[in-house]
Symmetry: C2
Subunit: 209 residues, 2 copies
C-alpha cells in the first residue's frame, strides 16, 4: 500500500488526518503539483485524472478521498470515523456530501477562477479550462453561505459536527475552513458554535498531519 500525497494540497490532508486518527502510517510519495508532476508520466499513468491523493492497493489506484477513506475504514475499523449505527453512518455521509459539494467545491471554484497562478487551470484534471471571473465571484458567495450553514450545524450538534463521535465530517470541515483561509475568508463574527467546534477539532494531534 502506498499513498501519493502533496503536503500543501487540501484533499491529501484529509487522508493524512484520517490516518493519524487511526494510528496508521503508510509509505508516502510526495507529488510536486507546482512542478506539474501530476500531469506527466509516471503519475498520470497511475491516475489519468491527475489528482492527489491516490492510494495504491494491490495494483488498484483509488483516486478519491471518499474511496481511500472507505478502504481504510474497512481494513482498520477502530476508531470508526464513518459512523457506528446505520443512522449515524448515514448522517455522516450526508454531512460529508454537503461539505464536499458546498464547501470544498465553492472554495475551489473561487480560488481556481481567481488566482493568477491558476490561469487555464479552472478545474483539476488533465485538460485546461479557462478561468471564468463570474465563477470566482459565485464561489466566494457560496463559500460564505457554506460558513453560515456550518454554524447552524455546529450549533445543533456537539461537541462534534455529528454529535458525540469525532468523524470524517469534522476532518472535512476543518480542512475546508483552513482552505478558505488561504483566500482570507474567516469565520463570520456570529459563528460562535463553529469557533468552539473548530478549537476542539484543531486541538487534536491529528490536525497537524
Amino acid at each position: 500500500m502506498k499513498l501519493y500525497d502533496c503536503a500543501t494540497a487540501p484533499s491529501p490532508r484529509r487522508v493524512r488526518i484520517f490516518l493519524a486518527e487511526k494510528g496508521l502510517a503508510l509509505p508516502r510519495v510526495e507529488v510536486d503539483l507546482r512542478a506539474g508532476e501530476h500531469l506527466r508520466a509516471p503519475f498520470r499513468e497511475l491516475n489519468p485524472h491527475c489528482t492527489v491523493p491516490v492510494l495504491e492497493v494491490d495494483g488498484t489506484a483509488l483516486c478519491s478521498t471518499a474511496a481511500i477513506w472507505r478502504y481504510l475504514e474497512e481494513i482498520c475499523p477502530e476508531p470508526p470515523l464513518l459512523g457506528r449505527s446505520a443512522l449515524e453512518k448515514a448522517r455522516i455521509a450526508d454531512l460529508q456530501w454537503r461539505i464536499e459539494s458546498e464547501g470544498f467545491a465553492a472554495v475551489a471554484e473561487w480560488l481556481r477562477n481567481a488566482a493568477p497562478g491558476m490561469k487555464d487551470r479552472a478545474l483539476t484534471g488533465p485538460r485546461d479550462y479557462a478561468q471564468i471571473p463570474q465563477l470566482a465571484e459565485r464561489g466566494r458567495k457560496r463559500a460564505e453561505q457554506f460558513l453560515h450553514w456550518l454554524e447552524t450545524q455546529a450549533a445543533s450538534a456537539a461537541p462534534y459536527l455529528c454529535g458525540e463521535q469525532y468523524s470524517v465530517a469534522d476532518i472535512d470541515a476543518l480542512v475546508c475552513i483552513d482552505f478558505a483561509r488561504r483566500l482570507h475568508l474567516e469565520l463570520p463574527p456570529e459563528a460562535g458554535a463553529t469557533r468552539r467546534w473548530y478549537a476542539l477539532a484543531a486541538s487534536r494531534p491529528s490536525a497537524s498531519a
Copy 2:
C-alpha cells in the same frame, strides 16, 4: 420512513432504482418541483437545501442520495449494492465519486446554465444564481469527456462497471446517461463497451423505477 421524491428528476430516480434492486417499497411523497414546492414550507423546513430526494427516518432528514443509499444498505444489506470486500467497496465508492463529480455535475452545469426555463436557477438550493453561458459550454465539453472516460471504464470491467456485481456505480451511470439525453447528448459512435453495458443495465426491471 418516508421518501420525498420527484418522478422527473434524476437523483430521486437513483434512489428508486436502489429500492427496486433491494425489493423494498417505501411510502412516497411526490414534490412538485415545477410548481416550486421544494422552495416553500413545509418542504423547505424539512430540507433547507431545497432538493430531492429526502429520506425521513425517525425525525432525521437525509438530504443526499449518498446518505440515503448508505442508510438503506445498512438496514437491508442484501443484495449488496455498495460492495462486498473492502477493495470492492472502495472501488465502487471511487466510481460513484467520479460519476457524480464529472458526470452528473457536468450535465447539470450544462442544463442549468443553458435552459431558458432555468433562468437564475443555475444551481439547486434556496438561492438564485444567474446563468453563465460559458459554463453551459464548459458543462457540455465535460459531459462529452465523461462519456469517453466511461467507455474506458466499461471496456475494463464486465459485465458491470465494477465487475461481476451490479452496484450503485451502474445506477449512477445509467441515470446520468439518461439525464444527458435530455440535452440530446448521445453515446459516441466508438462507445461499444458502454453500449453493451447500458443495454444490460437498462434491461433490469429496476431501470423503469
